[in-house]
């Protein structure tokens, strides 16, 4: 069991790196899970506006009334220090003074010196109110230019700027699943974490053990290469199992209950995807990449696959062409199952089985490709034995 022990020994030397990855990924995944669970509802915010009407005409009163519709009007003493304090302590978001002669200037089409205002620089409330007032004045001038009377123009402009666009955020409202919402999100992000962890930790260990010169030396010994390979396989299997167990326990803890069949299916789905991730790691290692480039490769593969397959963006929001291409990647099928388990899609037993089999197929194909590449490499170099 010398090679097996070597695998574990080198893995142990990389424990610090592995633990950093685990800690970062677990923190990341839990943070993503817990920050992404707010009910997606759009709600318009009301600002605190203080209005001083120096003009006191029907036009200026109409503007005040319009502002009051969508914001809260607050009363403040018309004293510079009081107003600045109100802005500073965020009692008021914007202080508007409708200047004397507002109605007259508006009627003549002038837009100069209609208002005085006090505000906090660079606040979104200021930007919003400035835009709102400009739009209102521009609309009134537009109606006046179109031949409407001043009363009609003010009324029409008020209607125009009050027009609302209904905002709704895509949300899975029909969701009905025993898998908790947080656990569903956790399992959704898992492919990225599994690929990243396995590739970043296991790939350097495999590269160290299968480095050409030490492999030659090992092949010169009395250890049959098949036995050496089996020992590497056993070491990898232990690491992969521990990784899965760790993430599975966290998944169960996030879900809270162990009794739902959806949870167990999600665990099965993740274990099959883990097999693919392990096969992918061995596949990448068979190309002997430089150790420093493993992280870059990992990011390209994991992020690329996850973005294409709907890990970070919901599958229904991805384009048809993207989804068509994503079908050739295992993460697509993983997400397909996850969406059925969390109630985002109607649960279909056959589809779940097909998807899991597809993931297994990808793992098998990757493993076969790895074997073929290794054989090709050895036959090219004329090596008669390989570990």
């Amino acid at each position: 069991m010398q090679v097996f022990k070597l695998f574990l020994k080198i893995l142990r030397k990389k424990t610090a790196v592995a633990l950093i990855y685990f800690a970062v990924f677990i923190t990341l995944i839990i943070a993503m899970t817990y920050t992404n669970n707010q009910t997606a509802v759009f709600e318009q915010k009301r600002l605190n506006i203080c209005v001083f009407d120096e003009d006191d005409t029907p036009e200026s009163r109409a503007l005040s009334a319009l502002i009051a519709k969508e914001n809260d009007i607050i009363s403040l003493e018309n004293d510079r220090d009081v107003l600045l304090d109100a802005l500073y302590y965020e009692q008021a978001d914007y202080i508007l003074t409708v200047r004397r002669g507002y109605a007259e200037k508006l009627g003549s089409g002038s837009a100069d010196s209609l208002f005085d205002n006090m505000y906090m620089h660079d606040s979104y409330a200021t930007a919003y109110m400035e835009q709102y007032l400009n739009e209102y004045v521009r609309t009134v001038r537009g109606y006046l230019a179109a031949g409407k009377s001043q009363d009609e123009a003010v009324g029409a402009a008020a209607d125009a700027v009050s027009a609302k666009t209904d905002v709704s955020i895509a949300a899975e409202e029909s969701r009905q699943s025993a898998l908790s919402e947080k656990a569903a999100l956790y399992f959704r992000y898992l492919p990225y974490i599994l690929i990243s962890t396995l590739m970043n930790v296991m790939c350097p260990v495999l590269l160290a053990i299968t480095r050409k010169d030490v492999r030659f030396r090992t092949n010169c010994s009395g250890l049959p290469p098949t036995r050496g390979t089996m020992q590497i396989f056993a070491g990898s299997a232990i690491f992969v199992s521990i990784t899965w167990l760790l993430f599975a326990v966290i998944g169960c803890a996030i879900n809270g209950s162990l009794s739902s069949s959806e949870l167990w299916l999600a665990l099965l789905n993740s274990s099959v995807f883990l097999l693919f991730s392990a096969a992918l790691t061995v596949f990448v290692a068979s190309f002997n990449p430089e150790t420093g480039k493993i992280n870059i490769l990992t990011q390209i593969i994991s992020l690329g696959m996850c973005f294409l397959c709907g890990v970070f963006v919901e599958q229904p929001l991805l384009g048809e062409k993207v989804l068509r291409a994503a079908r050739f990647l295992p993460a697509y099928w993983y997400i397909k199952v996850t969406r059925m388990l969390d109630g985002s899609e109607v649960y279909q037993r056959n589809t779940v089985i097909t998807a899991i089999l597809m993931e297994l197929g990808f793992a098998a194909v990757t493993a076969i490709l790895t074997v073929l590449i290794r054989r090709l490499k050895y036959s090219r170099s004329g090596i008669s034995v390989s570990a």
Partner: protein, 316 residues
Amino acid sequence: MKQSVVKIENLVKRYGDLIALDHFSLDIREGEIFGLLGPNGSGKTTTINCLLALLSFDKGDIEIFGKKMTPTSYEIKQEIGIIMQNVAVFDELTVYENIDYFCGLYISDREKRKQYVEEAIQFVGLDEFRKFRPKKLSGGLLRRLNIACGIAHKPKLIILDEPTVAVDPQSRNRILEGIAELNRNGATVIYTSHYMEEVEQLCTRIAIMDRGRKIAEGTTDELKRMICNTETITIEALALTDEIVKTVSELPHVYDTAYDGTKFTVFCSGGKHNLLRILGVLQEHSVSIGRVFSERPTLNDVFLEITGKALRDKGE
């Protein structure tokens, strides 16, 4: 006669159109330090790789300890120690762990292995570096670690493939002394190198390789006897005339001369008192001379004469 340890017969290895080994044969006896000498690309490492069944070959037979060597001859491999040209150790393990790992591939008994590892560490003088990782070791120390990993299991046959490449003179001497000691302890050694002085100093028998073929084999003295040159005389002399050079060239046993304006080199083949005769000619012509050297041929001369002049020219 001692028993044959390695027997190679008519080994042929091709890389496409290139013939790396051309009907190469060898017979190495127990207790020998056998040198494989040849320039880079002559086929030394290919021979070693075929010998260890790391490389498949096109034709020929290899026997080690009287048994046919195949990739699955694990019982033979158990008795072989290999020290490759490149340092083949794990950067992630310490000196002790590296030796322990490679020794463990042969020795499963933990106590015995511990003892062997300790002995190997002492043998190569890495005691104070046992907890060091390879990256912290100098080039010479790394080579010693490489050797320790190859010999810790006390093999009967040790193969060293250019173990002193890029090693400082102090470490080189230590390595050569170590190899001689391993041989004294009973191991048969195959030593490949393109450093002729090393091979001459260390090996009991030598095979000279060129272009995948064995072009000569024997002890150092036997090889030296194969060549025409027996003595090279160099004399520092100024203003030699063509007539003087011609007179010396016509002396008995002189087969070649060279004069570059300051150094007069005379190549002799056999005979005695060559130096006295040459000095006599110079004295007759009142030539003032500086330092005088008389050298016996080295393996370098053997190699140059055989590969550079005789055999290669014949083949071409």
